[in-house]
Point group: C2
Chain length 191, copies 2
Amino acid sequence: MSTSGKTAYHHGDLRAALLSAAMEMLEGGEPFSLRAVARRAGVSPTAPYRHFKDRDALESALAAEGFRDLLDGLGGGRGLPASLPDLAEFAVAYVAFALRRPALFRVMFGKPCDGADDERVKAADALHQLLADALDRVFPDADAEALASAGWGLAHGLACLYLDGKLRAASDEEVAGRVRGAFLALVSVGA
Amino acid sequence: MSTSGKTAYHHGDLRAALLSAAMEMLEGGEPFSLRAVARRAGVSPTAPYRHFKDRDALESALAAEGFRDLLDGLGGGRGLPASLPDLAEFAVAYVAFALRRPALFRVMFGKPCDGADDERVKAADALHQLLADALDRVFPDADAEALASAGWGLAHGLACLYLDGKLRAASDEEVAGRVRGAFLALVSVGA
DNA sequence: ATACTGTGTTAGCACTGCAAACATAACGCA
DNA sequence: TGCGTTATGTTTGCAGTGCTAACACAGTAT
């Protein structure tokens, strides 16, 4: 490492350094590439290949980190949805996360994500399961699976549409209000 | 052109040829690049720049075509949603489109889409407006704007999640069933 | 001590988007 | 008819990318 005066041919914890460099670039708006990440970490252009098979593997690791943060943000702050209004706030928080960390959100979702062993798949399943569990407790008679998909779908769809500029709002507050409104409009239309 | 025996230094309708070549490649699963598209159209690597400012411009044109097809598919086939079940079928059709033409769908939505003059923005607005109009007729008392956003959001979110493998189903029929189920579960939970 | 293994480096390939300078053909107008 | 102008395509070239292969260095185990 650099903190000691040692030769530092071996970095010490390159993998972590690469991940944080990549995350910084991603969130900083710079288009991130393996080579650029390597530059930022101060190593040779191909050093990352010792730690990540692929560009995809790096992305996958970033995405996994994103899922952890998302789960923390959703579960941690306000407790799991326990009522209809809670569900609405869940959607609001989900969309807020997407708008606060747009590039990360895109990395988390933007691509096929095929491999069964993909970290992302497990993380996504965890989110879905968490939602389904919570909903099952709140609405025991309903089809929790279907409801969880719907809730996730609605939140995710609105997040994407606002993120891509397909839906527009002036401020984050307005987005929150619109998301809440959309959710409530939909659940109350069947009454 | 090539159909006549002429010299064919000028292609005749390169722009259209490039677009259809690009669409074929996109739908064919090949990662599409300006150069590859040019190759496929049988012209020099940089010829496309005469017709598209950017790689983005080509993508934008493809996306616009995609939006037209999507609108046709939604509006044309079954008439606009006129009832709650219709809305569900609308969502089903939306997701089906995404799964049938995944790469196109990603191009249509996958990126910021900033420019105010972007064809995509207008196309997306048209979709939103169409939905809002239809819903306003069906549910005059409801907030049509909010409802349209919710409907679009739900359909779009489910489309993304199935497309990315975050939600999974064995067959297209199962997807359709689950989308319907999710929609109905959500609107009936508020009853 | 010696081999081995893990980690980093250099060199090089095929590809990409894009800009500049050039070539060719069509069209407008005398 | 002939001559410029303009639209369209070509060649050349640059910087950047992902990735592989061959090499260099350092710590560990035998």
